[in-house]
Symmetry: C2
Subunit: 343 residues, 2 copies
Amino acid sequence: MTITVSIDAMGGDHGPSVTIPATLSFLGKHSSARALLVGDQRQIEAILARADSAIRGRIEIVHASEVVGMDEPPASALKNKKDSSMRVAINQVKSGQAQACVSAGNTGALMATARFVLKMLPGIDRPAIASSLPSQTGETLMLDLGANVDCTAEHLRQFAIMGAALESALRHDPNPKIGLLNIGEEEIKGNEIVKQAAELLRASDLNFIGNVEGNDIYKGTADVVVCDGFVGNVALKTSEGLAKMLVDFLKEAFNRNVFTKMAAAIAMPALRNFKNRIDPRLYNGATLIGLRGVVLKSHGSADALSFETAITKAYVEVEENVLEKITERIARLHAASSTSPIP
Amino acid sequence: MTITVSIDAMGGDHGPSVTIPATLSFLGKHSSARALLVGDQRQIEAILARADSAIRGRIEIVHASEVVGMDEPPASALKNKKDSSMRVAINQVKSGQAQACVSAGNTGALMATARFVLKMLPGIDRPAIASSLPSQTGETLMLDLGANVDCTAEHLRQFAIMGAALESALRHDPNPKIGLLNIGEEEIKGNEIVKQAAELLRASDLNFIGNVEGNDIYKGTADVVVCDGFVGNVALKTSEGLAKMLVDFLKEAFNRNVFTKMAAAIAMPALRNFKNRIDPRLYNGATLIGLRGVVLKSHGSADALSFETAITKAYVEVEENVLEKITERIARLHAASSTSPIP
C-alpha cells in the first residue's frame, strides 16, 4: 500500500525551509511513500527545484493561499483561514488524498481545525495529545499533554483506551501497562476525578497497573501514562526546562577553564553519546488522537531532523492501522458493557 | 536570641543514625543554636556519648516512646501515637520549648499532626508544602508541592501570599515576582480555577507577573511559582525522575568502555562541579507553611548532610521571622480589603 502524508509546508517557526528538506529526507528513506506539500506553490517549487527527480516524482504540491499565525487564536483560524496550509493539509486526509497530516503550526488551531474537519472517532468525546518520552527502560507514551484542561473520569478512561491502542499498535505489545498519574501522599491519594478514573480503569479490560507518580514516567514503570492535559502539559514543560538547565550546567562545568575544556575534548565521545540519547529531535511529534484521521503535531521550533521524526511517526501510525485498532478497542468495550449482566 | 530546634530524631528511613549526626554538625556551625532531640532516650544517649561536650551542652533529650511508621495512615498516627517522636517534637513548638520542628517522617502524618497541634495562621485555610528548586538564575520557591489536591482560587491566592512572605523573608527581597503555573495553549489558557486565581492575584498587592509554564520553574522567570498540590507534586516528582535518568545516562555514557572511563577520570573535576551544583541534598527541606509554627519536612531517605540542610532552613526561617511576616502580610491584605470603597 502506498501511504501519502499531507504536509503543512508553511507551519512552524521556519516554514518551508524546514518542512521541505525534512519531507525529502523522509521520502528518501521510505521508497513507497508519497507526500503532498501544502502551501504557497511558488515558494515550495523554488525549494523543490533542487530535489532529486526520483523523489520529486513522489511529491505533489497543493496550493494554499493563507498561513495560520503561530499566535493566532484557534477560533479565528477556523473561521477566517479556510485556505490556510494547515486547513488544506487536513482536508487532504478528509477527502482521502492522504492518509495522515503533519503540521508544526499552532497547536490550538491545529486541534480545532482537525476536530472540525475530521470529526471524532465513535465513542470518543475529545481528542488528546499523545507523545512518547524517553525512559530508563525504553519509552513511555503519555497523554493528554495539553488538549484538555478540565477532564472527567470518563475522559481519562477514553485517554487510557486510546493510549493502549496506540501503544499496542506501535510497539506490537497486545497488552501494554497503563498507569494513572497521581501523587503519593497516603492520606489523599489524588483528587476526586483521578480516584473515579482509577475505579473505571480497574473495571476495564485494560492492563491497568494502578497509580503511578511523576518519577515513574522516566523510570518506565508503565508503558502508557494517563493524565489530564493540564497536569500532562506541566509535566512535559517542566521536563523540557529541567533538561535544558542540566545540559546548560554540564556545558558550564566543562567551560570553566582551560583544563575542563581539554577534559571536554577528551570526553567528547561520551558526552556525544549522552547527548544523542536524550536528543529531543528524536522524540518530536505528538499524535492528536481520537480524530477520524492521523494528525501529527510537530514542535513549532523543529529543525529538519526533528520534523522528519514527526513525518515518520505519522507514516508508521498509518502503516500500523492505529485508527482501526482504536476503533476496534472501543467497539469491543461497548459490546462488552452492553452484553454484561446488569448487576 | 537563642533559637531552639526540635528534632524528630526517630523519623525518616534511617532515624537517629542520620538525624543525630546532622544535628551535631548543625550545632557546630551555629554556636548560639540549641536542639531538642525527641525520641527513644536510650538510643539517642548511646549515639550522643561520642559527641563533643560543648555541643552536647546545647542538646536536650526529650523522651518519646513511639514512632510513626513511614506508611502509617495520618489519621491513625494522629489518634493512636500521642507519644510519638513526631508528635512530641511538634508539641515542643506549641509549648514554646522550641521555635521550630524538623522531621523526616511521613508527610501526611506530619501535616495532619502539625495542623492539629499548632493550628493555622489567621486568614489561612490550609497549610501548603513549599520548597526551593535550583534554577538557571538561582532558586525558585514553589508551592504547593502536595498538601492540597483540590484547591479553590482563594487557596491559590493564599499560597501566593505565603510564598511571597517566605521568599521575601529568606531572600530579603521586598517584592518577589509571583508566577501562577499554567499551560501555554492559547485557546484554553488553563482551567477555570487557575483563571479565577489569576484575577484574584491581579487584584492583590503582590508583584504578580502572570502565568508561567513548567519550563519557567527552571528558567527562573518567577521567584515564587504557585500551583495546586496535585500539579506541584507531579512537577516535583517528574523532575526527580528526569534528573535521575539523565545522571544515570551520563554515568552509562562514561562507563561504556576503557576509553570513556579514562575520559571520566580526566573529566572528574568538571563532572563533580556539575554534580555538586544539582545535589538534591543541598535543597532538602520543605516548609509546611500556614501553620502557627515553623515545621520543616525532610525527605524520608535523607542522609546526614541532607537532613542538616533541612535543620538549617528551619533555623533561618525562625531567624528571619517568617511567621510574623506572613501574618503581617495577611493582616495588611485584610485591612486593605475592609477599608476599600465598595465598588
